[in-house]
Amino acid sequence: MNLVARDLVLSFETSCDETSVAVIENGNKILSNIVATQIKSHQRFGGVVPEVASRHHIEQITGCIEDALRDADVTYDDLTSVAVTYGPGLVGALLIGVTAAKAVAWAHNLPLVPVNHLAGHIYAARLVEPIEFPAMALVVSGGHTELVYMPEEDKFEIIGETRDDAAGEAYDKIGRVLGINYPAGKPVDELAHQGKDTFKFPRAMDSDDNFDFSFSGLKSAFINTVHHADQIHEELSREDLAASFQQAVVDVLADKTQRALKEFPVKQLILAGGVAANKGLRERLTKEIASFKDTKLELVPLSLCGDNAAMIGAAGEMLYRHGARADATLNADPGLEFEWLADEAK
């Protein structure tokens, strides 16, 4: 037996198309992080089909638990708590993780900690370095584009979010026009690095006096440009199209983030979520952050940008310390959101 008691979280993540179970020690060390991805299955349909996702999660869930415990070399007796994503996400997918986590917590008499998926994405940063507060997070994924202000470690306040498409969603949609199957983020990013911003697509809401985003106008401008060229049989450079699209996305994200940092000085800016793996965005934020002397940029490592249970364990340990608990009635909450920053807090 160890002399110093270890805090061990068994964590579950099934909000979309990845079944993942992890064991996290003391909130910041990954002992195991099993991720079973369904991408190949959903590629048949050009995007995630919720009913299919849910069916795959059931196939995978207990095997992932076994692997996570085995890889971490721990038993149920060693565990401190069970953490699970309960929203936001696809309801039928979330329910598999929630049900499995509740069953494990009950069977082994362990406390159950409900975790917001986006808190997980942000807390992935903690698996590399401690988060310093106040902190700001730019969370960009297939389903979300949000600026989150964190005055303390268990306080998450939205200061801006997308009014329409999430950034990742926009990538998938314009990817389809370029003949790239879902998920299009990485291939479009690679293509963009070989081209130039020649099309100068609109930067929506970039000059507005708020921290909200919008990508549907950009998406439409992109699609119209391609369709128009098709009609007059003009061949456009795919590289330049990708570069122009990405530049517009990155400009809006970087400008809004920069403005948010001016209004909310923080010690750390965390770039998190699936789209945080985007090279263009990482390069741009790295450049921008140089003018904020007191703010450190924390780029979540590529391996932890996508959905995974390690990040849920990292957030789960923190929430557990702050008393977050769920009982056996815990349900999936597909539309779960952080609260908006109250006006008086500004």
């Binding site: 079973a36 369904q38 048949r44 009913e51 929630v98 049900t99 009950w106 056996a328």
Partner: protein, 240 residues
Amino acid sequence: MKILAIDTSNKPLSVAVMDNDQLLAQTTLTTHRKHAEFLMPVIEDLVKKADLTPTDLDRVVVADGPGSYTGIRMAVTAAKTIANTLGIELVTVSSLLNLALNVQRADVLINPIFDGRNQNMFTGLYRWNHGTIETVIEDQHISLGKWLPAISDYEQPILIIGDTASFEDDMRNVLHSRLLTANPLMGIPSAALLGQYGLAKSPVEDVDAVVPRYLRLTKAEADWKKLHPNEDTHNYVEKV
């Protein structure tokens, strides 16, 4: 042997805790469809009331479908996770067979029905033979129009139970006096009968591989299969 039996295949939720074939505690609810919220609390409550702890359990018996997709998912996910995490046995039983267990008589063919919408049904045909229930026609997802000719040639009366309302009139037009109906309470699954039946069945060999008995592909997969008839549909999920 201590058994936990679960059926949430459709709107009713039924859970029982048994000691061999003796019932210790049972709850059956028909008032809601909130299985996600109610299933684990009911399990927790019944095991406690039976004066047991989870680790006392030896076997989980689950009605694994067909039924509502969400319903069978809840039951199967809970059942396989409990069996896996406690290292105990898991037995799976058809949800239609479980309903048929409510009719303990040998003079009829038992036809349990779940509504599959648009005049489709999840159904099968069962009978008792010397104290054992037997499958006469396998569970399937089928239209009423195709099911009727399949059952019209048997000589015995056919007793329908379950979601019979939208099918009864059409069935009577074909089967006439050979169609029997039952007390509607027989259309509500009993986890105690499920547990008793599961006591004699052999457990599954691979708990991890257990999935609900959907008996119907998702629309996306069905459409895709039409276009790709020879494609191997296994190994679509990869651990990375």
